[in-house]
């Protein structure tokens, strides 16, 4: 029985391959929808969310934007098929997309009215059952003069000029308690070159801090990628902040407040490996899709 299934699968694969070689499936438009939530609630500027983190802190959003890149769909055989991102001059460029969950209202007053809750591109038509993307900007695009770049690489709120790059993720919140504001700024740290020529391209970063996120069972026609603020903070005590470090976590390796956050972002922190990312998850059937205004 098992053998018959396997051989049928092998036969099917062979047929598909042969047909595929003769006529590759044409690229079709694809939309990967995103939504931001705080636990069971849609994310919205101006709202308060109680019960966040290990101390049950109440938070109010200040900002929430991020970059994703290296987007691929996973087909039924587990193969990653790259999504070619559209170049729209605003949100997407050179294979990088910015997602923007804040709408400039409420306490998000330093943000922008426009939101962006989807990635647009093309991929060969197919039967997909998963999505994979990198939270972050590829190394080759992360260390250029930001004011010489087009959108979304010229968004000053995402500049991280002191560390020579961008914030891959920016999640800022107000909190009730002794720590009034918390910032989660994810980006590459420890970036140096071994060469003394000023234009040396041979830069490397000790901690790239790019997280590869895979969401199994994801059907782009039906599902949404959920970014859950409550899940990100679940292991963090938002009433405490390590002295002499950034409020929250700005990716500093000596800031222990980053430990539980990196764990949930799927990133190693010092010697500690991550138990797997828990920031993003699948939203079935677009049930939690409606957070904020129009995406495009």
């Amino acid at each position: 029985m098992i053998a018959r299934v396997l051989s049928a699968a092998a036969l099917g694969a062979a047929v598909t391959t042969r047909l595929g070689a003769a006529a590759p499936p044409p690229p079709a438009p694809i939309t990967i929808r995103f939504a931001a939530v705080v636990g069971e609630q849609p994310f919205a500027c101006g709202r308060e969310y109680p019960g966040i983190g290990t101390a049950g802190t109440t938070i109010t959003p200040l900002d929430f934007r991020l970059y994703v890149s290296e987007v691929a769909l996973i087909d039924r055989k587990g193969k990653a098929v790259p999504v070619r991102l559209a170049e729209d001059g605003v949100w997407q460029r050179q294979g990088v997309a910015m997602l923007d969950f804040e709408d400039g209202t409420g306490a998000c007053s330093n943000g922008s009215a426009e939101t962006r809750l989807a990635i647009e591109g093309t991929a060969p038509a197919g039967d997909y059952a998963g999505v994979r993307f990198t939270l972050g900007i590829p190394f080759a695009l992360n260390h250029r003069n930001p004011v010489e770049q087009g959108s979304p690489f010229n968004v000053t709120s995402m500049f991280w000029v002191w560390r020579a790059g961008y914030k891959f993720l920016r999640l800022d919140v107000k909190a009730t308690g002794p720590v009034e504001r918390l910032f989660v700024h994810l980006g590459s740290t420890g970036c140096v070159a071994a060469d003394s020529m000023p234009a040396s391209p041979a830069v490397r970063c000790q901690n790239p801090n790019r997280s590869v996120v895979t969401i199994a069972g994801f059907d782009p026609a039906r599902d949404t990628v959920i970014a859950d603020v409550a899940a990100l903070f679940q292991g963090s005590d938002l009433t405490a902040n390590q002295p002499k470090t950034a409020m929250g976590c700005m990716s500093a390796p000596d800031d222990a407040d980053c430990g539980p956050l990196f764990d949930r972002l799927g990133l190693a922190f010092g010697e500690r490996t991550s138990g797997g990312q828990q920031f993003f998850r699948i939203g079935r059937g677009g049930a939690v899709g409606a957070s904020g205004g129009g995406a495009r």
Partner: protein
């Protein structure tokens, strides 16, 4: 000499491309540097050549509080011409009241600096560096993150800018852009060249320009006993220097034993020097040696403003590192394992400390500190016709 080269190789080897504008010799047609005698020509990025209009625009921007979140700060707030573009505070305070961990660095001869700020090896050009005070959020300095459109709109409404941006950036495109703001500010900063101090007048033959004490201090400064010149050498009195024809730029960072909070050479966070950027243990406490030109007016001293006077600075180096007896920063810098080998300490005869300070004071260029070309243009008359305004019958041409 061989020791000098060895040091440059040893300490200058760490450079990050980071945010880099390729520095090459950019021909600047029509632009004439006004350089002190004997000074080399500064390098300029190929995509931002010098021009008189760009200098004038950059000067206006440098002194313009519209470049801050609430209109209360300009670059000049922390970079005061009279103090060689530093300020009197130990560490600076940003537009929201946030205290910066470091002392405002001077801009004297910044055109010759191949690496910028106190200890960031990724900061290689003035254009992207200007983004740090404007848009940085840790700490907030001018507080403009997310406000660039508002800021540019403010600038578009100003009549002087309507002329100056067009004059500085001719062409069909809207010249009022963030890239052009940083280019103009960088261009102005490159003109902040100082080389007419009493020391320079003596260098060029006027032996009466320096006092006998200052001349004695000069001897001490350049002696192998004190070793000052190893890190503060060359025409700009810093080991980190570059210019047209230099070949390889030299970049140096040094741990001077200012702190040793853990017996292992540790500096108090967040001011851990190059280590803050590279995260490498051996970079703990390594900072750039600033130019000593105009140093006497730039106090308080060191990256964190933790030494008030030049006399105490000399004491620190004479001791071969600072000892802090108590408190959270207690430690004996002299025994730091990370200290530069040139910080060995020295003994001074009576009067020699005063001589050394007199020499440092002879590096003060009074003309630079009061030069109207570097001063606030918003309190000076503006020649709108020069910058492209049409002559109107009966109009005065200024404002």
């Amino acid at each position: 000499m061989s020791r000098r080269v060895g040091l440059a190789n040893l300490l200058g080897g760490l450079v990050a491309a980071g945010v880099v504008a390729a520095l090459v010799v950019a021909p600047a047609p029509g632009y004439r540097w006004q350089l002190p005698r004997g000074f080399p020509v500064p390098k300029v990025p190929a995509d931002n050549p010098m021009s008189v209009a760009k200098v004038e625009l950059g000067r206006h921007l440098f002194y313009d509080p519209r470049l801050s979140k609430n209109g209360s700060f300009s670059c000049s707030t922390c970079h005061d011409q009279g103090r060689a573009f530093t300020e009197a505070k130990a560490t600076s305070v940003g537009v929201t009241g946030e205290i910066h961990p470091r002392n405002a660095m001077g801009l004297t001869n910044i055109a010759y600096a191949p690496v910028l700020t106190w200890a960031n090896p990724t900061m290689r050009a003035l254009e992207p560096q200007a983004l740090v005070p404007m848009f940085g959020e840790t700490p907030v300095e001018m507080g403009l993150a997310g406000m660039e459109a508002i800021m540019l709109d403010r600038l578009r409404k100003e009549r002087r800018y309507q002329l100056l941006f067009r004059a500085a950036f001719p062409g069909p495109a809207d010249p009022v852009s963030l890239a052009n703001v940083t280019k103009a500010i960088a261009t102005f900063e490159r003109t902040l060249i100082s080389g007419e101090s009493p020391y320079d007048r003596a260098r060029l033959g006027d032996r009466t320009a320096m006092s006998p004490a200052a001349r004695a201090g000069e001897e001490l400064f350049f002696s192998e006993n004190l070793e000052c010149f190893h890190c503060h050498g060359g025409f700009n009195f810093t080991g980190s220097v570059d210019y047209v024809g230099k070949g390889l730029p030299e970049i140096e960072f040094h741990n001077t034993g200012l702190y040793n909070i853990d017996g292992k050479g540790g500096y108090p966070a967040p001011n851990t020097g190059v280590h803050e950027i590279t995260l490498r243990g051996e970079d703990m406490g390594r900072f750039k040696a600033p130019t000593l030109r105009n140093v006497a007016v730039t106090g308080p001293f060191m990256h964190d403003g933790s030494i008030a006077t030049l006399e105490e600075v000399v004491d620190h180096y004479a001791a071969g590192g600072r000892t802090i007896a108590g408190g959270p920063h207690a430690g004996v810098g002299r025994t730091s394992p990370l200290k530069s080998p040139f910080i060995g300490g020295f003994e001074l005869e009576p009067g020699e400390k005063e001589a050394l300070v007199a020499f440092l004071e002879s590096l003060t260029d009074r003309k630079f500190l009061t030069d109207p070309r570097h001063a606030n243009p918003w309190t000076q008359p503006f020649d709108s016709v020069r910058w492209g305004a049409r002559r109107v019958r009966g109009a005065a041409g200024g404002r």
